[in-house]
């Protein structure tokens, strides 16, 4: 039985199908790509109940099977595979999580550390191939420039969408990348050093990786511990139950964006800036904390909250000296 379909529609469908073959491993595609297209074309022409649903299901299941078969056979999957997997994970996160429009972009910050995590699987050369833009650029210099420009894309997207808060996401992305990279560097250097214990030649290379990796990881761990300790505040009772009238007045003023009242209370009283209200202490994002308490802050009225957040940050650092570490 022949399906009723114009030659143009048929060729269009075949073109789409040929593009989808990119989902298969390269070796399989090279060997059976033309046969797959011919089989699809025959199905389109002769099969009565052919559908794109059937084709898609067949494509996804068989492509997944081929990738697993390739890994099981000991062959390294091509870099494109890990990028597709990273993309699938990102899509899964997006679909699976209750999201806001901005949160749809959040998985992007996982891409650099995920790509880096693929390093031991693919090797440097293969990973580099994943970023080579062959069609757009012809020379190695052009490729490097394209790669450099492409690396700014996630940051640019974050800046465009998150505005001032983009810095936080970029910081998270860089930190994760450094953590993953340092960890991999340490593992590689140690395993190389241990395996070459009988052959001193060439030991300098793992040492060159090991030293900065340990330094970076130590710096990140140290900075994180320091940041955590700073967030605890000085010793003393910072509980809500023990908060004074001035302290409560300070946080009410902060939550409502009353800059003058915040300035007055932080200069004339010893209101505790470290008290642990359930909604946070408002140091980093007064607007966010206010909204946590159900106080809506329009975007065009953020300025006072930013000013209060900056001021409270300074007040926290000076509070111990000025008030002699006594909570009110």
């Amino acid at each position: 039985m022949t399906t009723v379909q114009s030659p143009e529609a048929l060729e269009r469908s075949v073109r789409h199908y040929r593009r989808l073959l990119v989902l298969y491993p390269r070796e399989f595609r090279d060997e059976y790509g033309d046969d797959l297209v011919q089989g699809f074309r025959d199905l389109m022409i002769f099969s009565r109940d052919h559908s794109w649903w059937r084709t898609t299901r067949d494509l996804v299941t068989s492509a997944t099977g081929e990738h697993f078969a390739q890994i099981a056979s000991g062959n390294r999957p091509p870099p494109r595979t890990i990028l597709l997997i990273a993309l699938a994970i990102a899509v899964g996160i997006v679909v699976g999580a209750p999201t806001s429009p901005e949160a749809l972009l959040a998985p992007l910050f996982l891409v650099p550390p995920l790509v880096l995590a693929g390093l031991p699987i693919f090797g440097v050369a293969k990973l580099r191939e994943a970023f080579v833009v062959r069609r757009a650029t012809g020379s190695p210099v052009g490729r490097t420039v394209a790669l450099g420009l492409a690396s700014f894309v996630p940051a640019a997207v974050f800046l465009a969408v998150f505005g001032g808060e983009a810095g936080y996401w970029i910081f998270v992305s860089i930190s994760l990348t450094l953590i993953v990279g340092s960890g991999l560097g340490i593992v590689w250097a140690m395993s190389t050093l241990l395996s070459k214990s009988g052959a001193p030649a060439g030991r300098w290379r793992p040492a060159l990786v090991l030293i900065p990796s340990v330094a970076i990881l130590a710096f990140i761990i140290g900075a994180s511990v320091n940041s955590w300790r700073n967030s605890l505040g000085p010793p003393g009772d910072h509980s809500v139950a023990n908060a004074s009238t001035d302290t409560r007045a300070l946080w009410d003023a902060a939550d409502t964006g009353d800059v003058d009242e915040v300035l007055r209370l932080t200069t004339t009283t010893c209101a505790d800036p470290w008290v642990k209200f359930p909604h946070g202490n408002g140091r980093h994002n007064a607007k966010g904390q206010a909204e946590t308490r159900g106080i809506e802050v329009p975007d065009d009225q953020e300025a006072p909250f930013d000013e209060i957040a900056d001021h409270l940050g300074r007040y926290q650092s000076q509070w111990s000296d000025r008030c002699d570490a006594e909570a009110d």
Partner: protein
């Protein structure tokens, strides 16, 4: 003198492989003809797509159960665009053994029912 190929290591066949082997047991076929035969043999239950077909063909070729054929036994089959496949000697042995294995399975499954029926009749 060569030994007869031993089918045992290849048994049992996975469903997709089984249906392709059964289709090729009727003679050499190209991809779409195999898909059509699989659908007919399974009463329309199994509708194989190109991805599953060639993924399984790749495995069967690697196992030496089928091979691509250049010469056409029937000139009417000659279509340059298509690759034709046929069973190897090992593939024929595996096919025969698998059919026998499945026949034994069906026979063993039916026997208790028949015995029960005879018991009730007596």
């Amino acid at each position: 003198m060569t030994d007869a190929p031993d089918p045992a290591p290849h048994l049992p066949l996975a469903p997709a492989a089984l249906h392709i082997v059964l289709a090729l047991n009727r003679g050499e076929r190209h991809g779409y003809a195999i898909m059509g035969d699989v659908e007919t043999l399974s009463d329309g239950v199994i509708k194989m797509g190109p991805g599953t077909l060639y993924g399984t063909i790749k495995k069967l070729v690697a196992q030496g159960l089928i091979e691509q054929t250049e010469s056409r036994s029937d000139p009417a089959l000659d279509d340059q665009r298509r690759k034709y496949y046929r069973l190897t000697a090992l593939g024929e042995a595996v096919c025969a053994s698998e059919i026998q294995r499945l026949a034994n399975l069906v026979e063993r499954t039916r026997r208790p029912a028949t015995t029960r029926l005879l018991g009730e009749l007596s």
